[in-house]
């Protein structure tokens, strides 16, 4: 539990939205190109994921959760910063070098309707990675593995010749999970795996993920919007805002004593049956766009406690007495 599996330091990702085809030919000495728009998706993320834990990442739409996941998996190349897997740096590897880590890290995607190839049967979908990563296996061994894998996620093995459109959303998400598990990874990134599912089916998939975690000692990076799922599922929670992590704490600590003003506002917005009286904290101010690189604290524009320092200086993550880490000047200065 205390052994760090993945360490991310200073991760940044900038997307540039160059539209014209001419702009892609970078002619030497030709400076007349128009200004390109930049999207700053990640602005220095530091995060450590420990072996066997479930780290949930929450935050509003467009705050860089998915970009973080894709950067870890190597689907997007980070602009700056480092990602370490155990003691090896993995963010700058090419496809061939990364192959060693493909088996250890896998991903479950958001949309079960798009994440399975519609022209491949379940058998083809599952046998491809198994045969690809274990070329020594005979065809019979692969068949056997596919069968056990399907049974282990609660899908009968005799439906392996069906196509994805013949399954329900929950079944498809379980097949997705089976595909991720097919290479026996240690670490799974799940990018909002429940958001496209019905609530009753969400529980089914979530329980399956927890069972598998126990069985294989998996670590999860779980991205979600659903705070109820976080409370139920996570060991630790990272709250993201505009490409930075503003609070990182154990689940119980975060839910009982949220510290960052954004976390407080976020948690107060959960509808509760027991306290109808409590008003949610209303954030005023404009939701910032990631098209400009933020100067100072990312939350400055909507923070009720912001002072001049917040507009000029970016807060560092500071360890608090109860074990959580918060990036906020107000807390550091004990104004909050």
């Amino acid at each position: 539990m205390t052994h760090p599996l993945i360490q991310i330091s200073g991760l940044e990702k900038t997307f540039s939205s160059e539209t014209g085809w001419f702009g892609q030919w970078h002619l030497p000495g030709f400076k007349g190109r128009g200004k390109t728009d930049q999207i700053y998706a990640l602005n220095g993320v530091n995060l450590t994921i420990y072996q066997g834990e479930t780290l949930c990442v929450v935050g509003e739409t467009g705050c860089g959760k998915s970009t973080l996941a894709r950067s870890i998996m190597g689907l997007d190349e980070p602009s700056a910063g480092e990602i370490h897997y155990l003691d090896q740096r993995i963010d700058h590897l090419n496809n061939r070098q990364r192959m060693l880590f493909r088996r250890r890290m896998q991903m479950v995607f958001q949309n079960p309707y798009a994440s399975l190839n519609p022209r491949m049967t379940v058998y083809q979908t599952l046998s491809e990675p198994i045969a690809f990563h274990n070329p020594q296996l005979s065809r019979l061994d692969v068949d056997e593995q596919v069968e056990t894998l399907l049974e282990s996620v609660g899908i009968s093995a005799n439906s392996s010749d069906r196509y994805p459109h013949e399954f329900s959303g929950g079944q498809r998400q379980r097949i997705s999970l089976a595909r991720a598990l097919s290479v026996e990874p240690e670490f799974i990134v799940a990018d909002e795996p429940l958001s496209a599912l019905d609530v009753s089916v969400q529980a089914q998939v979530l329980n399956l993920m927890m069972d598998k975690q126990e069985e294989y000692n998996l670590s999860y990076l779980f991205i979600t919007h659903d705070l109820a799922v976080v409370e139920h599922f996570a060991n630790r929670v990272a709250v993201m805002y505009l490409g930075r992590i503003c609070e990182l704490a154990n689940t119980s600590t975060l839910f009982s004593a949220p510290k960052h003003p954004y976390t407080q506002a976020l948690l107060s917005a959960i509808p509760r049956l027991d306290s109808t009286a409590a008003d949610p904290i209303r954030l005023i101010g404009e939701v910032p766009t990631p098209t400009e690189k933020p100067i100072g604290c990312v939350f400055q524009a909507r923070c009720p406690y912001a002072n001049p320092r917040c507009y000029s200086e970016s807060p560092e993550m500071r360890l608090q007495s109860d074990g959580s880490s918060v990036a906020c000047h107000a807390i550091e200065e004990s104004r909050l």
Binding site: M73, L75, N95, R102, M107, A114, N117, P129, H133
Partner: protein
């Protein structure tokens, strides 16, 4: 609404092919088109068996029999459809001509499709500069009229290698010329579908698995982009046959010793005003029916493979 049958109420489970076949059976025009196309294919394949005369026999061409009208006019029952200006049995040479035209059409389109699919997949999947370069190549190719390229190429080929050499290689050269000039149509269609497909998560999932780019392109993305290609494929075969006929008509296609439908029409035109209309009209009708059937099939496939297409 009088045709509602009770057993049609339940949706039929099963593969898309079965769905297509059931749709096919309901469309009489498509059935007819398919039947005609299969008939042409069969006749083309079996031409040596079906043809009443052996075209390789030196006695086949006999000027004494020249310009005999079809049997229902001349009552000469040796030649069902009459003979051409050189005394060849029209039915036999039409059968062989159909065989040649179909072979050239199908081979040329297979060539077009393989080039177009590879270029379209690479351009769409890799994107960026590769995409720009390949698509500008396609634009340049499209800006030349296909017929112009073919005429220039065939004329140059004939003048360099001589007519004798050309007559030997005519079929191969025609396939190459027609095949190489029309690939951008396939490339653009495939590229557009690939751009849509590569955003989907199953491609990311395959990348995360470490599957190679080549395999992702050809095994994962390509099968999902094939429906529009099938439609273009049928229509392009019709176009290629027409292109070959046009080139032959201009004297740049198949030589008259080994005539395709186009060269038959071309020869027939000069007899048209001499009263021997059948030498031109019968091969033309054969060609028109073939092209019509191909286009009907293509239309039908487009309707059924693309559920988003407008239907009234």
């Amino acid at each position: 609404m009088k045709h509602i049958k009770p057993d049609l109420a339940a949706p039929i489970p099963g593969s898309r092919w079965r769905h297509m076949l059931s749709g096919f059976a309901g469309d009489k025009l498509a059935m007819l088109a398919l039947f005609i196309f299969l008939f042409y294919c069969l006749v083309a394949l079996l031409a040596p068996l079906v043809a009443p005369f052996d075209v390789d026999d030196p006695a086949f061409m006999d000027l004494l029999n020249a310009e005999i009208a079809p049997s229902w006019i001349s009552h000469d029952y040796r030649f069902l459809l009459g003979t051409d200006g050189q005394g060849r049995d029209l039915l036999s040479i039409i059968l062989y001509g159909t065989r040649l035209s179909l072979t050239i059409g199908v081979c040329a389109v297979i060539l077009q499709a393989s080039i177009g699919i590879c270029i379209g997949l690479i351009a769409g999947y890799l994107g960026g500069r590769v995409d720009n370069f390949l698509m500008r190549c396609a634009d340049i190719q499209l800006s030349f009229s296909n017929m112009m390229v073919a005429i220039v190429f065939l004329a140059v080929f004939q003048s360099i290698f001589g007519v004798a050499m050309y007559q030997q290689l005519a079929m191969l050269v025609l396939i190459l010329v027609i095949g190489l000039t029309e690939w951008p149509l396939f490339a653009r269609t495939i590229r557009a579908s690939v751009l849509a497909e590569k955003q989907k998560e199953y491609v990311d999932a395959a990348r995360v698995m470490g599957i190679s780019q080549k395999r992702i392109m050809f095994r994962h993305i390509l099968p999902n982009t094939l429906s529009p290609v099938l439609v273009i494929f049928t229509v392009q075969i019709a176009n290629a046959i027409v292109a070959e006929a046009a080139l032959s008509f201009l004297g740049l296609g198949m030589p008259s010793t080994e005539p395709s439908l186009g060269s038959l029409i071309s020869e027939g035109v000069s007899y048209m005003f001499a009263g021997s209309w059948w030498i031109c009209v019968i091969p033309s009708t054969t060609l028109i029916i073939l092209i019509l059937a191909m286009n009907l099939l293509g239309d039908w496939l487009r309707d059924h493979l693309n559920p988003r297409a407008y239907k009234d």
